[in-house]
């Protein structure tokens, strides 16, 4: 796959509820390259989840077009489209009545893989997300939060998608688990050649993981750029505020560590 080809494109996308009076997303245009890791940052209600859900047609735009691998998603069957895009949910969203193995096998079964093929894939996936193989028959409720989200990642990757969407995937985890999982995922992103769009509240997480960051505010993309771009040249006051928080925290930590010495 050529790295300069476009995996996902938003072209003048609007999304309005109650007949155009409230715009959740307004005139967004953005291209995400294949193999890119894009983080979407913004406060709650800034429209980032709406934008993410337009990619796999959980939400349809009111105007404009969304393209996935060169095709207008409105021309695609939504169920087929969703099955070829991995999705890691906010709050994990495992099926509580299915075992770990059944959860991971959901999409492969929907697209009609054979039992053998699923079995082989299962072992690969458990290794990839670093889960012991004996969790297969366990119910999600018996797992720790970190283990559950590993299952969530394995489920998203199960049917070998090119694109993975993540909606605050690590938000509910403790900082250490969160950091470990995030770095593991970034490694998988790299090795599998995925295109990832990840929503996060946490600017620092975005800076450390993403190739590019899109900052959203009130339904609009107010800045897009590499972490370096945003850190060195925040285009506006809102971006500066967002960037300042991790920067101030980092220098504070630095100062305290220096003072002890």
């Amino acid at each position: 796959m050529a790295t300069d080809s476009v995996a996902i494109a938003f072209r003048n996308v609007d999304k309005s509820y109650d007949c155009g009076r409230t715009l959740a997303v307004r005139v967004v245009s953005l291209e995400i390259a294949a193999g890119e890791f894009l983080a979407m940052v913004g406060t709650s209600g800034s429209g980032k989840t709406t934008l993410l859900k337009m990619i796999n047609r959980l939400v349809d735009p009111s105007a404009g077009t969304v393209e996935v691998e060169g095709q207008d998603v409105q021309t695609l069957d939504p169920f087929q489209l969703r099955r070829r895009i991995g999705y890691v949910f906010q709050g994990i969203g495992l099926f509580p009545h299915l075992t770990v193995a059944e959860n991971i096998a959901v999409t492969p079964r929907l697209v009609g893989w054979s039992a053998d093929k699923i079995e082989t894939r299962m072992s690969e996936l458990l290794d990839l997300v670093q889960l012991p193989h004996d969790v297969r028959q366990r119910m999600p409720s018996t797992l720790s939060g970190g283990q559950r989200q590993r299952v969530g990642v394995a489920r998203a990757l199960a049917a070998r998608p090119n694109i993975v969407l993540m909606d605050e995937p690590f938000g509910a985890l403790d900082p250490i688990t969160r950091d470990a999982l995030a770095r593991e995922y970034r490694a998988a992103h790299q090795s599998l050649g995925l295109t990832t769009v990840m929503i996060t509240h946490d600017m620092l997480e975005a800076i450390l993981l993403a190739d590019r960051i899109a900052v959203m505010n009130a339904g609009e993309i107010v800045a897009v750029g590499t972490p370096h771009d945003l850190l060195t040249d925040p285009k506006n006051e809102y971006v500066r505020e967002l960037i300042d928080v991790p920067r101030r925290q980092a220098s504070e930590v630095e100062r305290l560590a220096g003072a002890r010495l």
């Binding site: 959980l58 099955r83 009545h97 959901v106 489920r155």
Partner: protein, 516 residues
């Protein structure tokens, strides 16, 4: 007591088998309809409101009323299909009971399924959409399995309701465990009443516990629990159906209204037919307006009615007439309008009559209804559930210009004791009732003949009118049962000490009147 328990045991396989068959069939329909409606109503909030309101409304109709409503409904439908397609069906017994109970079982299943599906965690539903499930896949792979514990709870409620309410199908001619209760209540056979209650409760508990096992199996993903629950249910079903008698098509069906005398007469007719080598079953406890229609529709083959009932209720006549004139005209009317054959009078009459305590009657010097007039304003009168709505009561009040302080309706078996205890002053009793002698009561004369004669008459269905073997077997009963013999039989089947079952009383009656 032992004889009563023994005779209760003897009919258990039949009653239990029919009860289980009816309940299972009704639940199966309720389940199919309830689940489908639930799935439809999950997709449309407006339809959901409509269906839940409708099902809730049906639930507020008392069970007995709902069962009773289906009889005329089906009868009318049967007439319509008969005219249009030449197909008629039985409006009595199994079908109306089945439909009413199925309707009754829909609400808990519908409500719990809707609640269960709507109650599935929004995040899980979103995940099901996100991985690419179609609406149908979401329903069957995610929503229904997650709602299953709530749905099973609804099915349990429905099962317990249906098994309980099925006892009320007796008056519309479907045998069930309710036969114990209705017969027991009429004959004051408390062993029967208790037996019926306990049997229904045990059945409901066993079924409920089996369903509870399945419910726990779903909740805990335990296949063993599901299988053992299902096996338990299958055992109940198979055991009750195998134990129940194989119905042979060529049986004669003898009807009876819901009181002791009718139970005895139905048993007496059964005995006569069996003595002649014919098979018979009885369907007793039928409501008195339903039973003539049932006979005319060939749903039962014979039963005993009373001339006065036909004369006033069906022919709407109120003028005074002799026994003979009423008998002739009733016979002609039955033949002409219903194609029903009046085989003949049995010999006794069971008329309405005003009855009071002997000591009070003697003290006040009351011998006839006319003597009662000066006291009536201070007297209370009790009658059965029909009497005060019947034309006889209007005719009596008009003929004597008499008005009582208070009228009370009560179960007919209790009113004799009520007048004996002084709870009421006068009752509208039945002349052939054994309790008149038991409580030493007196029957007041009716000099103005305001109450019509109620001669017991044996009626045959149109289908059996020319069945010579059947007629021949029943003819020995015609004119052979005097009032006193009937009163004795009624007393022996309703007294509190040494009570006989209706079958035993019928055997005794047959011996009394010289049968062999």
């Amino acid at each position: 007591m032992d004889a009563q328990i023994a005779s209760a045991w003897a009919v258990l396989p039949d009653y239990l088998g029919q009860h289980v068959l009816l309940s299972v069939a009704a639940l199966a329909i309720g389940l199919a309809v309830g689940l489908s409606l639930a799935i439809v109503s999950v997709w449309s909030p407006r339809l959901r409101w409509l269906l839940l309101t409708g099902a809730g409304l049906i639930q507020t109709i008392p069970g007995l009323a709902l069962l009773a409503l289906f009889y005329p409904l089906l009868l009318a439908l049967s007439i319509v299909t008969g005219r249009l397609f030449g197909v008629t069906f039985s409006a009595l017994g199994f079908l109306p009971s089945l439909l009413a109970l199925a309707l009754y079982s829909i609400l808990p299943i519908l409500r719990n399924t809707v609640t269960g599906i709507l109650g599935v965690d929004e995040a899980v539903k979103e995940a099901a959409r996100g991985v690419g499930m179609t609406p149908r896949q979401r329903l069957f792979k995610v929503e229904l399995p997650l709602a299953m514990p709530v749905i099973m709870a609804g099915i349990r409620t429905a099962a317990v309701w249906v098994i309980g309410t099925a006892t009320l199908s007796t008056p519309i001619g479907q045998a069930s465990l309710g036969n114990y209760i209705f017969t027991g209540l009429q004959t004051q056979n408390w062993v029967f009443v208790a037996f019926g209650c306990v049997a229904a409760v045990v059945l409901a508990l066993v079924v409920d516990q089996c369903l509870a096992l399945i419910e726990r199996g779903f909740a805990g993903r335990n296949a063993w629990l599901k299988v053992s629950g299902a096996l338990g249910l299958a055992t109940v079903l198979v055991a009750s159906l195998v134990a129940g008698p194989a119905e042979s098509g060529s049986r004669y069906v003898i009807g009876g209204k819901p009181f002791v005398e009718q139970y005895i007469l139905a048993a007496l007719i059964d005995k006569r037919l069996e003595a002649e080598g014919m098979k018979a079953t009885s369907r007793v406890g039928l409501g008195s307006t339903v039973i003539l229609d049932a006979l005319a529709a060939n749903e039962i083959d014979a039963y005993v009615d009373y001339t006065g009932t036909i004369w006033t209720n069906f022919m709407h006549r109120s003028e005074r007439a002799s026994h003979k004139k009423v008998l002739t005209e009733v016979g002609r009317w039955l033949q002409q309008t219903r194609s029903v054959t009046l085989l003949g009078p049995l010999g006794f009459d069971n008329a309405y009559a005003l009855v009071m305590r002997r000591d009070q009657a003697e003290r006040l010097n009351i011998h006839t209804i006319a003597d009662l007039i000066p006291y009536a304003a201070n007297f209370s009168i009790a009658g059965d559930y029909e009497f005060f709505a019947r034309p006889e009561w209007k005719a009596l009040k008009k003929a004597y210009g008499i008005d009582f302080r208070q009228t009370r309706e009560m179960q007919s078996t209790f009113m004799y004791k009520a007048v004996a205890d002084g709870a009421v002053d006068v009752i509208a009793g039945y002349t052939s009732d054994g309790q008149i002698a038991q409580y030493d009561l007196v029957v007041l004369g009716d000099p103005k003949q305001s109450l019509p004669p109620y001669d017991a008459i044996l009626l045959l269905s149109p289908k059996r009118a020319h069945d010579q073997k059947f007629r021949h077997a029943l003819e020995p009963l015609i004119g052979r049962v005097p009032t006193q013999a009937m009163r004795n039989a009624n007393l022996s089947a309703s007294r509190s000490n040494h009570q006989l079952t209706p079958e035993q009383a019928a055997a005794q009656l047959w011996r009394d009147i010289g049968g062999r």
